[in-house]
């Protein structure tokens, strides 16, 4: 495959997708699939055939469109109309009414229950406020057809890198773009690449961390399911830049659909010579192998993930040496998160300046968030860095359901913290969130209303960290257990002020002396809830009362509000 051939595939696919061919896109993300998207696809295609429209119109599966709670979603591509909660019968109705008579089924429009649903979904605040880079192909192309990815300039960035840029220039572009690691810590991606590039070795590796272990996060899942080639291309470009010929894609075992689509994507890319030997006839060799995780949160830590790829227990190692110097099988290894890789090809194609103009000076680009919890529009969104939390929650997310009051936004999963109402105008970026005692994390954003009890939330996350602690270092293994015990006492109405003092003494020990990020960040949910919701702790301790009414108190009358 050379440039001309790649170009021809793109042209042919664009013609197929655009000219004369009408497309009905049915969301086939895991969420919509579990609500019956396959039946919608089948029924719609059957109706098209019955109506004699199947020559010009086709229903195809696409990646996540974002509004997961309204799924399965169906989009009539030509008009931009999106229908929600579609079943087989509704799919048939779309064909009979919308396609044949151009009548909009207004009671089935996305967010119809708000009474303000526009005909074009793009006019909804949910979509209008978003800027899509990582998710630009999700919900637009069929993730199981490489041609559709190529039609959207897929693999052109790889071609550009291989034929007209030196590895140093690729790294320079990524550095200049200001892209920071999207896995949570926010380390500059270009610097990481440069370190791996500088280490001389006979073999180097590129690893994509798709072990999305934070509960409440499903960004990576949606990208892997909706646009798998984007990740493969990003990894191949990284391989070229750092001098690696082998890549591993580590995916959670809980994501069978993502694994299936990646397997298809790898096969297709190999067949077209976009992975394997002599890629794009440019003499570059790179191949990717999938490794399926087996359920261990600690494997999100890079040294633990490497141990897991080597077939061992996923326990971390002290750093240095960093994986960039001695990683997989003691070779220099580059590890980036799924979303980081997804940003690579747009940066190379559109330039570092374009990218760094989006977002804030210190946090360039966009961030994908998974909105969940007590919020009307749960689902997947992408916004420029620096978007205020209030805008994300109340404009894009549609606010809190059931007339309840907002209490806290939880970011960063078990490593993050809870942000209270008074900081809702904070512009989200790496620095602002850590100043509030939370972290950006991988992008899970869980909204809690007045019925959530903050000490119980802290206990929930501590239990998570306690269970997931690999047991290698004592501060984490014992510290999380002790802190969980104290939190349980408090939530049961049996805690004392001495217990609270002990918690505050233990937390910094755990944070400062644990071996890896799991233990170092395990106290964050506790500390951030203590910082902003101390009164709730005191109510549990002194008055034996749970202000949210959710804890069962042993020390006092149950359920007193």
């Amino acid at each position: 495959m050379n440039l001309q051939e790649l170009f021809n595939i793109g042209v042919a696919a664009r013609q197929k997708m655009g000219n004369g061919q009408q497309r009905i896109c049915v969301c086939a993300g895991a969420s919509c699939m579990s609500s019956g998207a396959q039946a919608v696809l089948d029924a719609t295609n059957k109706s098209l055939k019955d109506a004699g429209l199947d020559k010009t119109t086709k229903a195809i599966p696409v990646g996540c469109m974002g509004a997961c709670n309204a799924g399965p979603l169906l989009k009539v591509e030509a008009d931009g109309t999106v229908y929600q909660k579609v079943d087989a019968a509704k799919g048939q109705k779309v064909v009979e009414k919308h396609l044949k008579t151009h009548a909009i089924l207004s009671d089935s429009l996305l967010f119809a229950e708000t009474g303000k649903a526009p005909n074009r979904a793009e006019d909804l605040p949910f979509f209008k406020k978003q800027v899509k880079i990582v998710l630009e192909n999700c919900g637009v192309i069929n993730p199981e057809e490489i041609e559709e990815y190529i039609a959207k300039d897929g693999y052109m960035a790889l071609h550009k890198a291989l034929t007209s840029l030196q590895p140093e220039e690729v790294i320079g572009e990524i550095k200049q773009s200001g892209l920071r690691g999207r896995g949570g810590a926010g380390f500059p991606v270009g610097n990481k690449w440069e370190t791996v590039y500088r280490h001389v070795a006979d073999q180097k590796y590129v690893i994509c961390n798709g072990d999305e272990g934070d509960p409440g996060a499903f960004m990576d899942r949606s990208v892997l399911e909706g646009d798998p080639h984007r990740i493969l291309e990003g990894m191949a470009i990284a391989g070229y830049a750092v001098g690696a010929s082998k890549g591993y894609l580590y995916v959670r075992g809980e994501y069978p659909l993502a694994i299936k689509r990646l397997e298809i994507a790898i096969k297709q890319a190999r067949k077209l010579g976009l992975l394997g030997e002599n890629i794009l006839e440019a003499g570059f060799k790179f191949d990717v192998e999938i490794r399926i995780g087996a359920g261990a949160f600690v494997c999100g830590e890079e040294t633990a993930l490497i141990a897991s790829i080597e077939g061992k227990r996923g326990t971390p190692k002290p750093r240095p040496p960093y994986p960039a110097e001695s990683g997989l099988w003691k070779k220099p290894t580059l590890i980036n998160n799924v979303e980081s890789f997804a940003n690579i090809s747009p940066i190379l194609l559109r330039g570092a300046e374009w990218f760094s103009a989006i977002g804030t000076p210190k946090s360039a680009g966009t961030k994908v968030f998974a909105l969940a919890g007590a919020i009307n529009n749960t689902g997947l969104i992408e916004v420029p860095m620096g978007t205020p939390l209030r805008e994300i929650i109340f404009e894009i997310g549609g606010g809190i359901p059931g007339g309840k009051a907002f209490k806290a936004a939880q970011t960063g999963g078990p490593s993050g913290g809870c942000i209270p109402e008074k900081f809702l105008d904070t512009k989200v970026d790496y620095e602002s969130l850590s100043a509030l005692g939370s972290i950006m994390g991988s992008g899970g954003l869980i909204i809690m209303d007045e019925t959530s009890c903050m000490p119980a939330v802290a206990k929930y996350f501590m239990e998570f960290c306690m269970d997931e602690s690999c047991g290698k270092c004592i501060p984490c293994r014992v510290g999380t257990k002790e802190m969980h015990g104290l939190l349980t006492k408090i939530c049961n109405g049996e805690g004392t002020e001495a217990d609270l003092a002990l918690l505050e003494e233990l937390a910094p020990y755990c944070r400062e002396s644990s071996l890896c990020g799991l233990g170092q960040s395990a106290p964050n949910p506790l500390l951030s809830t203590l910082r902003y919701f101390r009164d709730e702790y005191m109510a549990h301790i002194k008055e034996k009362r749970c202000p949210a009414g959710s804890c069962k108190m042993h020390g006092a009358a149950v359920g007193v509000k």
Binding site: A30, S31, S34, S35, A67, C68, N69, G71, E212, G213, D214, P215, G216, A217, F218, R221, R252, G253, E254, Y255, R291, I292, G293, A294, G295, A296, F297, S308, I309, E310, G311, K312, R313, G314, A370, L371, A372, G373, A374, T378, G379, L380, Q410, G413, G444, I446, I447, M448, S452, Y460, F461, F464, E468, C470
Partner: protein, 172 residues
Amino acid sequence: MPATLNRASQIKEIPAADPRITKVLQAIKLYQRRPDALIQVLHTAQGIFGYLPLNVLQFVSRELKIPPAQVYGVATFYHFFSLKPKGEHQVVVCTGTACYVKGAQKILDQLAADFGLKPGQTTPDGKLGLEQARCIGACGLAPAVVIDEEMQPKMDASKMTALVTAKTGVAR
């Protein structure tokens, strides 16, 4: 507590003619007996047997030339692997943050009350097993429950028992 491997002589050898073990061997060969394929081979074996019996672990240990202690260590480290047979029907309650906020604990309490099951347990007749998942990534559909690999979105504790019975035939 699962039995340990230290009484290796007491583990009943799995017959080489068992077609299931032939499939495991195929997977081992596919990975060219590389020891780093251990986790991938265990995935395959659990897919075939439904869990990881000790004699299968012993077989994998021998074929990949990895000490039994290491195989056992890996098999017990990861949540995905189970050394005990699972129930004929399996209910998995997601307890990720979004599901937690939306009442996953109430669902677990309801199942405990009606079927006498805590996460990780199976009914004495082996018909129904209950597990909790860390997060199945269906946060937009919280609280989510998976019954026999079929996702049940936006569940409600009060509807839970009837649904389990309808899907699995197991009554409270």
